[in-house]
């Protein structure tokens, strides 16, 4: 029991900043508080700290306005890519078909894959930059639409995992934002121009669903992040 409580204490206290952890553990030690009491006190402090983060608008924007809607749209793109790929490989006809030659399909597939990579990476990066400390909440909120769609998926010719093609590039974007939440101005502009050109190309060829235009917003946001990082990052981030 003592070892378990000590382990819990260690785990919970790691949620605090190093200086605060030092001071709090020292105070509890000076008071002669038991390990269990220390766990309760520190847990309450961690909960209060985390609740205070949500007084800022950035976590709400990241979770509700970016992560949640982007999950739905990116799942749709992932599914579309899988159907196109299947058609190219000569698989059974899916319920989504386009009258196009194999060459046009290949080009559109390449276009969609590049867009998926760009959009997913940008969404992950922006969510991580806006609010790194509530990233877990954004990820949980993104997981709900994924779980819902996975349970409702009835396309027998495709695996359910085809809905999650966007996840690896999104994780790469998050990883980048956690490592360094800065982006070079030229890189952000290049991403925006590339995404816009690809989207127009897909749009002209009828391969872009209208709501997916919303996915240009996170890419555009990377340009804002590059130009004025101070405007968008919380001091407590």
């Amino acid at each position: 029991m003592t070892h378990a409580v000590r382990f819990l204490l260690e785990l919970v206290s790691r949620r605090l900043e190093p200086d605060e952890r030092e001071a709090v553990l020292g105070d509890l030690s000076e008071d002669g508080a038991s390990d269990l009491r220390s766990v309760i006190e520190i847990t309450w402090l961690v909960v209060r700290r985390h609740a205070a983060l949500w007084q800022d608008w950035r976590p709400w924007l990241a979770a509700l306005a970016v992560a949640l809607p982007a999950s739905f749209l990116l799942m749709g793109v992932s599914f579309s890519i899988s159907c196109t790929f299947q058609r190219l490989m000569g698989g059974p006809q899916s319920s989504v078909t386009h009258a196009a030659t194999a060459h046009e399909d290949s080009l559109m597939l390449l276009c969609q894959v590049m867009l998926l990579l760009l959009w997913s990476w940008a969404v992950g990066f922006v969510v991580g930059c806006l609010s790194r400390r509530t990233l877990w909440a954004s990820c949980v909120l993104s997981a709900f639409p994924c779980a819902y769609c996975l349970t409702k998926f009835h396309e027998t010719s495709l695996t359910r995992l085809c809905l999650l093609l966007f996840v690896p590039p999104a994780i790469a974007g998050i990883y980048r934002s956690v490592r360094t939440n800065e982006i070079n101005q030229k890189t952000s502009v290049a991403l925006l121009i590339t995404a816009t050109v690809l989207m127009f190309g897909a749009w002209v060829n009828g391969a872009l669903w209208a709501p997916n235009w919303m996915l240009i917003l996170p890419v555009s946001f990377t340009v804002l992040l590059a130009w004025r990082p101070d405007l968008w990052r919380a001091s407590s981030n």
């Binding site: 200086d19 605060e20 030092e22 001071a23 709090v24 553990l25 020292g26 105070d27 509890l28 030690s29 000076e30 008071d31 006190e41 520190i42 309450w44 402090l45 909960v47 209060r48 700290r49 205070a52």
Partner: protein, 103 residues
């Protein structure tokens, strides 16, 4: 205007002077109020007061009785003193004529 707990914290820190840090402030408040003061309430309030410029904090020296861990020292700023004084004056003014106040 300051909140009740903010006033207690600032007053405890001002009373303790150079010895004002987390554990000592907590003990001072608990002795005066007769109620437990949680670490969560204490440290979040210290942060809030520091953001408002009413106190300043820094990491002090470690001691063996604290398991070799450093203290978070606290000092009330002149702005903090003014705020505490304003709170005290408001309470005094409001309390005049109250039945529980000895004349």
């Amino acid at each position: 205007m300051l909140g009740e707990f903010e006033y207690l914290l600032i007053t405890a820190a001002a009373t303790l002077g150079d010895n004002a840090y987390g554990a000592s402030i907590r003990e001072e408040i608990e002795t005066a109020t007769g109620r437990k003061c949680s670490i969560g309430a204490l440290y979040t309030t210290i942060d809030r007061l520091e953001k408002k410029g009413l106190v300043k904090t820094w990491m002090g020296e470690a001691t063996t009785e604290r398991g070799g861990r450093a203290k978070r020292m606290l000092q009330v700023t002149p702005k903090g003193v003014e705020s505490a004084k304003a709170f005290y004056e408001v309470v005094m003014r409001m309390s005049r004529g109250a039945s529980w106040v000895e004349s």
